[in-house]
Symmetry: C2
Subunit: 419 residues, 2 copies
Amino acid sequence: MSLKEEILKIAKHAKCASSELALLDTTIKNQILKEMADCLEAKSDFIIKENRKDLEKANLKKLSKVLIDRLTLNQKRILQMAKSLRTVADLKDPVGEVMRSWGRPNGLLIKKVRVPIGVIGIIYESRPDVTAECAALCFKSGNSVILKGGSEAINSNLGIFNCLLDTLKKHKISTGAINLIATTDRKAVDILLGLDAFVDLIIPRGGEGLIREVAKKSRIPVIKHYKGICHIYVDSGADLNMAEKVCFNAKVERPGVCNAMESMLVHSEVAIRFLPGMIKKFKDSNVQIRGCPTTRKIIKTGVKAVTVKDYATEYLDLILSVKVVDSLSEAIEHINKFGTHHSDAIITDDEKAAVEFLRRVDSACVYVNASTRFTDGGQFGMGAEVGISTDKLHARGPMALEELCSYKYTIFGQGQIRE
Amino acid sequence: MSLKEEILKIAKHAKCASSELALLDTTIKNQILKEMADCLEAKSDFIIKENRKDLEKANLKKLSKVLIDRLTLNQKRILQMAKSLRTVADLKDPVGEVMRSWGRPNGLLIKKVRVPIGVIGIIYESRPDVTAECAALCFKSGNSVILKGGSEAINSNLGIFNCLLDTLKKHKISTGAINLIATTDRKAVDILLGLDAFVDLIIPRGGEGLIREVAKKSRIPVIKHYKGICHIYVDSGADLNMAEKVCFNAKVERPGVCNAMESMLVHSEVAIRFLPGMIKKFKDSNVQIRGCPTTRKIIKTGVKAVTVKDYATEYLDLILSVKVVDSLSEAIEHINKFGTHHSDAIITDDEKAAVEFLRRVDSACVYVNASTRFTDGGQFGMGAEVGISTDKLHARGPMALEELCSYKYTIFGQGQIRE
């Protein structure tokens, strides 16, 4: 069988299973998720052995430390995966939920009911834990999933996948519910992206390059999870102690994630009071500062000049660009221009400024007096997430079970006809 | 300026206006919509004169009667357009609505707030009234719109568009809010579909060919409004009088629309009692029947043999395919296989059958004991519609103001940081 035929077979199988999955009872789904978790724990030695194979290749290929860290599985990480599956089992089933219902003057009763989307393709890079988590979220939301992980993680992914599959088989659920495209052939993604007759949605997770390529090539709708260039704006009306605490958290707590702060904007009225202490604190934590001319006037040493390119860069590192602005409007315009519509915050006690910031900043998550680091399915109380959408259609911000669903209208009559 | 530069200029202009539009006060939007309606009425003679130019060309080109009817504007139709605009003005503003709000254990308050999508491109065919209605719906929902109507309606569209534009100018609203690509050059659509940096959503309205072409070429997300092959299934537990009334309505009341019935499925247990009277009634109204072998055994004369192609055809005409099925499951499987996931109904007094039908039929609107003809924004109480989505992502079924919106999360804290 050619690769094309193979992937087509997987997609058809997934489509077929999706109608069975859409009707599956909540208690059975939860039971299966919990048994998948048990299976991952029981087979952890095997999975770690498979992971070693990937790690050996990665070392031979001299992959970066960061990539190798993401790729690595150990007992702790496998327990974490199992825990995620149990968390998803405990979440409310979104399928069948009546989102809204209303009557019409002619007696028709209309209910808007949440239903699964169908078949979801997830294309991701090195992290093998994504395999278990995304499969669990799709399964719980009644969707078939086609997973295409990075080739550097192929053995790890297969190890995890087999646990999931065994549990499905044990419960006589169609194995089309969870699929893994296990090939290192780069053409696989292109083939998958053309199968719009069988796959309803593509979610790419990973670097910007991957996402752009997928969005460009796909004939299937894509929900993009682009990078986060997140800002915190310290307003003239800010509580400066709070601002220092929040900005420090947003930059330093975990700089390598998409909801970390990359640019700090400070109102000129408070810059002289705020910047010296704040920047000292950053420098003490090895944060490299790139500042605008005013910043560099206030902080005479150790601040590199910021460039326009800096403002448009997601550092994912202990680097911060700092700009002094003369007004709330200037801050908002900077954010809408250089940001990625992900997460942005204002620190202020001025309610009018807060309201204007919330209204005008065009981002998935807009904060008043809190760290941008809270943009996360778990932190939002959604239990888990497949990612954070920077798109505006279908799903925006943290994407979890509800966002993996569509809806249908069910309409109840007593013989109504249209005159 | 080349066509490409011209369309790029329009798209940039629209994007720029969209941030202004997103913040526009509800009362001002409503006032403008009402004045647009007044303007259409006041300039109706001019619009009709412009429409004559299109009609003359259409006659020269020997366009079909149906197309010429769709293209024709008269006083009555212009009054109807003005009325639509006033209806949209009276609808609730979706922008700023808090869809949901909840607190988190750490004290964060999260609000999910409806916001406009941004810039919406609408590509449509002959009907010039779409120009006014779609512009009004986009304007009310805070979106900039780029309209690309059929070239056969270019003068009519420009006539209407100028009314809308004059009203915007009078109120000093950026004219980028409502744009018309007024060219007969077929390349215009292709150019528009490539401008994903400025246009957020494309809605094609029209024949299947147009929609497929747009979906194939677009780099911008598309919400497809495909055809409706709608079914009514007369169950063994049906009230046959009700079934006759509803099926007749769904086929005959307005056969040329997407929510009309194209296939009638009848349970074998009631076929002998139901079909003779029902088919006589259809024939008396000039409905041509195409039946399965069992149907033709029951009705000996005047029933052509149905083909698989018939089952997959949207007639939009007084033609009906009829199939006798042996079970509810057979009916559901037929609908999911041959239908277009638009609107399907069951007639039954058996609650269990109704529930199974509602659960298993994978369509935007699934009815129990009512005509499929109710699938319509107005009938659903949404006031108006840009169309009926047969997609599952973002919007499904009638698409109106709420469906023209996205959302953002606004999060209120007191200095929370992530530990």
